[in-house]
Symmetry: C2
Subunit: 257 residues, 2 copies
DNA sequence: CGATGATTTGAAGGAGTTCAAACTTAGTGG
DNA sequence: CCACTAAGTTTGAACTCCTTCAAATCATCG
């Protein structure tokens, strides 16, 4: 019975041994191992995953990893650097849907339409691993742990976006910006970086665009938080001096509606 | 080689024949077949899917399908009726994250944490099919088409939420509400109902909550649209008299930021 | 060092909220 | 079947948060 079912698999997967230039390109030796797609895989399974990972791509600051409308063939795991994803609306204005950092996956929103739904632009010189989705799908049949983890990642993406929806729908400017800072803080912490001092890789304008606020509002909020002793700012450098207070602001009194 | 790989499957799936009370409970005979999980499956595969679908559950108007924090064991396919999903924030206020209708899947956001991330409440007397997720995962190994379709559905959910994010972050009240109406319209059309005349199953307050506006704003917008001849309204009944104009409003001039 | 892009700050204006009150609908019990 | 009630909706007026517009200041990089 099982055999019959398995025979209906779409194509026969022929494992490909890692190529020479892949040696430095391995999930097994990657420092993001615990954050990225191979999370929770056995050593053997990680090697199977290694076998399908495509080339590493470097994207210079401001460069496009993919364009909206591009046919979807790969997911991308960020190895190094930061990205923003944005759409361009009917009237030509840019609308930022998210900021992504090392260990995060780009392209999940393209699976259903088989076309990328947004632009992915590097905020600094960055590097990604190309993950051919068709080959990943083939691996799912062999590595249930990988499939389960992949579902977790997609589900997490949904949850993340729900939180952003709540932020945009219900929070005042001050609350939004506090939530934004707290969010960055916790993501850096997960990656082993300081949760209180980091660089804002994006422009004020991009923060505002993402949070549904103007650049002036962001600037004013930075000044206010600075005056209140919540943060220290120097251009792109920011230090969160009172993380608990910022967290309280982020949770704090939403609009009543 | 393949056999070895397949042997690593987490558990041996023993197909269960449809139980007696399942006869009326089949994907194969369900009118939502083309919209829901079985989309694109062969007849044989649809029967396999039938084998794992749990009981049908009736939820009366106002009843909870699940609560936020509940352990996640099932996805739910809406068979009949409408739901809203909402969270309750720290200060006890309700924040609506979406409205769902027949053929749509509930619970995708719970996969990553294995706990439901929101409440699901029936907006009218409704009915859902329980889909035990663990058994669905077992089926994925046997029915690649099902897996692929499932990924599409998750990806679609991400895209949908991105659109809502854009709506909340960038649109004025008028534009949001127009987009909301146009969205309902196209979903009813897909389901074979009128795209221009339908019932609003949710309260004005719930619409406002979802769109990040007050109930008063929604009421004023309804009045304005009515005066402009774009719609006809009678309590919950609404008729879109000028769908193209509403579509234009929905696309129309976003805030500049 | 000069030019361009990015950020900050100020002042005025407006979209949408808040508060208040009237009105309508649906449901209940007499 | 009607009166009564509670819930939901509409409308008006005042206010507020954030935007818009404008101009000055600052950073970056050839």
């Amino acid at each position: 019975m099982q055999a019959v079912q398995f025979a209906t698999a779409p194509s026969v997967r022929i494992p490909v041994p890692p190529r020479a230039f892949d040696v430095q390109n391995r999930c097994s030796t990657c420092s993001l191992h615990q954050l990225c797609l191979p999370t929770g895989l056995s050593e053997a399974d990680t090697h199977l995953l290694d076998g399908i990972i495509g080339r590493r791509r470097r994207i210079p600051r401001g460069g496009n990893l993919y364009h909206m409308g591009d046919p979807f063939t790969n997911l991308y795991a960020i190895r190094l650097g930061h990205f923003k994803t944005h759409q361009v609306s009917s009237d030509g204005t840019e609308r930022i849907t998210g900021f992504q950092m090392a260990g995060e996956l780009l392209g999940l929103d393209a699976i259903s339409s088989e076309r990328h739904q947004c632009y992915a632009v590097a905020l600094e010189d960055s590097e990604v691993c190309e993950i051919p989705f068709a080959r990943l799908e083939e691996l799912f049949a062999d590595i249930p742990t990988l499939l389960r983890h992949f579902h977790r990642m997609m589900s997490q993406e949904i949850t993340r976006e729900q939180n952003t929806m709540l932020l945009l729908g219900n929070m005042r400017a001050e609350q939004r910006f506090a939530a934004f800072l707290v969010n960055l803080s916790s993501r850096y912490k997960t990656r082993g970086y300081s949760s209180t001092a980091f660089q804002l890789r994006m422009l004020r304008e991009e923060i505002g665009n993402y949070l549904g606020l103007t650049i002036e509002s962001i600037s004013r909020l930075l000044s206010r938080f600075k005056k209140q002793g919540l943060i220290r700012v120097n251009n792109r450098e920011i230090e969160l001096l009172d993380l608990p207070a910022l967290r309280a602001l982020a949770l704090g009194t939403p609009v009543t509606h």
